[in-house]
């Protein structure tokens, strides 16, 4: 054990992402005495959306308890969504703030907040702070300075980029992921084990990729996975035990089950770590991971559509005031729609849009017929809205390709509506 502790003290670990997974991982790594700890994240600490929801709902009905409001909001939903929402409201933001980021750091970089928390636990370790996004331009240089890499990011392009970089540099990668009530954990690129691409040579469709910040997660779930990432990292650094390589841990919080499964070894055909791979550092630097996965590296707004296919929330307000004939299509998942929605809007979740186009056609037809009766002749317009204005753009792009040539998205979605038009509109 003394040798293990001494190995630990000599080791260096880079944690990429200081959010739900990275926060607990960092605290345990700091506490256990890793010699040098690097933290990279470009984000700032914010009281996340769950918190805003609490405040806004209170405005709606002062005097009622938040629980009652949450209860009445979701009483018509099935039990699963009920649980998810309660989870959403109560835990997600509390966890992240309490575990590493404190309110005092709101508006400051997560890296500064995380580093302060780590130092207060263990003042003897060296901490390197990188307040920047990890890109192909800086990844090789940063990762090369550490023995073990911890992937605590939240999106597919980062995961491919980090894995490829670890292969090029020969570093073991402790990879964790969580969404909703499930988590996954494995160690890649360790002593002949597979890399991320051996397992997932082709990126999944973007509709299968969700961020916790969009789809929700019970904070304890990434918390548990993050702790286990710290554990696997400590095992690797101190060279004790059997690392979780060529195995994957699957955690299902809802049914309280953890299963550890055997996964494939390194693939000889892998385009990055395979026998005939010619993937090199220059190719890595030139590789477009966002293009490869069709997914943005950071959660910034998409910009898919030309200006004429979009309107601002303020313009939409004028449309409502003028009572312009239109159909408002809301493409959020139905449980989001049940939390809050525009009156008279039609909800078809983006994932089901293709299969349910006929409903949209009938809604437009209905408006058109109403119009004929009232003696006017303009076709009804079609506006598309979602929570933040990303899926609405994807939907408009799809709708325009499918013949709905008048479709326009409302820029920034319901969040922009709440920010720019109606501050009393509940956001979540």
């Amino acid at each position: 054990m003394i040798l293990g502790q001494s190995n630990l003290l000599k080791s260096s670990v880079l944690v990429i992402g200081a959010g739900g997974l990275g926060s607990p991982a960092l605290l345990y790594l700091a506490a256990c005495g890793v010699g040098r700890l690097g933290i990279i994240d470009h984000d700032v600490v914010e009281l996340n959306n769950m918190h805003r929801q609490v405040r806004d709902l209170r405005k709606f009905s002062s005097g009622s308890s938040f629980f009652f409001l949450a209860h009445s909001l979701v009483r018509e939903m099935n039990k699963r969504y009920y649980l998810m929402l309660i989870v959403f409201f109560f835990f997600s933001f509390f966890f992240i703030l309490q575990v590493i980021h404190t309110e005092a750091f709101i508006g400051h970089p997560k890296v500064k907040s995380a580093a302060t928390a780590c130092r207060s636990i263990n003042s003897t370790i060296k901490i390197d702070e990188y307040v920047e996004a990890l890109r192909t331009s800086n990844a090789l240089e940063i990762l090369s300075q550490y023995d073990i890499i911890v992937d605590a990011t939240d999106n597919p392009p980062s995961r491919y980029m980090i894995s490829d970089c670890c292969v090029l540099l020969g570093k073991p990668l402790v990879s964790g992921a969580a969404l909703g009530m499930e988590g996954q954990l494995t160690v890649y690129n360790h002593k002949g084990g597979p890399c991320y691409r051996c397992l997932f040579p082709t990126p999944p469709p973007t509709t299968a990729c969700q961020r916790c910040s969009d789809s929700g997660v019970l904070g304890v779930v990434p918390g548990a996975i993050g702790c286990l990432q710290a554990l696997e990292t400590i095992k690797l650094a101190s060279m004790v035990g059997e690392p979780l390589s060529e195995r994957m841990l699957l955690f299902d919080a809802l049914s309280a089950r953890i299963r550890i499964v055997k996964i494939r070894g390194r693939s000889a055909q892998c385009t990055v770590c395979g026998d005939n791979s010619s993937f090199n550092k220059q190719q890595f630097k030139d590789f477009d991971y966002e293009e490869f996965t069709q997914f943005p590296l950071s959660a910034g707004p998409l910009n898919l559509l030309p200006e004429e296919s979009r309107i601002s929330s303020k313009e939409f307000k004028e449309i409502l005031q003028k009572k312009e004939r239109h159909v408002l299509l809301d493409v959020r998942p139905s449980h989001h729609y049940k939390i809050v929605s525009f009156p008279d809007s039609l909800n078809i979740p983006f994932a089901n849009l293709e299969a349910r186009l006929n409903e949209l056609t009938s809604a437009l037809k209905e408006k058109e017929d109403g119009h004929v009766n009232s003696g006017s002749c303009a076709n009804p317009s079609l506006y598309v809205v979602c929570r933040r204005g990303n899926d609405s753009q994807r939907a408009v792009q799809y709708l325009r390709d499918s013949g709905f040539s008048s479709a326009k998205d409302i820029i920034g979605g319901l969040e922009a509506w709440a920010a720019d038009v109606n501050p009393n509109f509940p956001s979540y």
Binding site: G17, A177, P204, A208, Q210
Partner: protein, 99 residues
């Protein structure tokens, strides 16, 4: 034959949000053993209720789905050619990216 099918990582949303399905699969006529290839098309027809493209692509599972036969990656047992036996547990799990 009796099989247990499990869906996770969001794939359960394609089959009425039920994660565990105890099913009885009959062998197609004239076939002596059931392969994963047969099972996939059976699952596609009998279990998947919506958005089949989120489960199947071509004749196999879509990218990003891990298939485990008795807690073991199907890549290790022959992928589509893996033979399935009575009481086997087959897990379909979509990889997660969140954090």
């Amino acid at each position: 034959m009796q099989l247990t099918l499990e869906f996770g990582g969001g794939l359960e949303l394609l089959c009425d949000s039920e994660k565990i399905h105890k099913v009885n699969v009959d062998l197609p006529n004239g076939v002596e053993e059931l392969t994963m290839k047969d099972l996939l098309s059976w699952v596609r027809t009998n279990v998947i209720k919506e958005r089949p493209e989120m489960f199947i692509k071509g004749d196999t599972v879509r990218p990003g789905v891990l298939v485990l036969v008795n807690d073991c990656d199907w890549e290790l047992s022959g992928q589509l050619e893996t033979t399935i036996e009575d009481k086997d547990v087959i897990v379909f799990i979509s990889t997660l990216h969140g954090g």
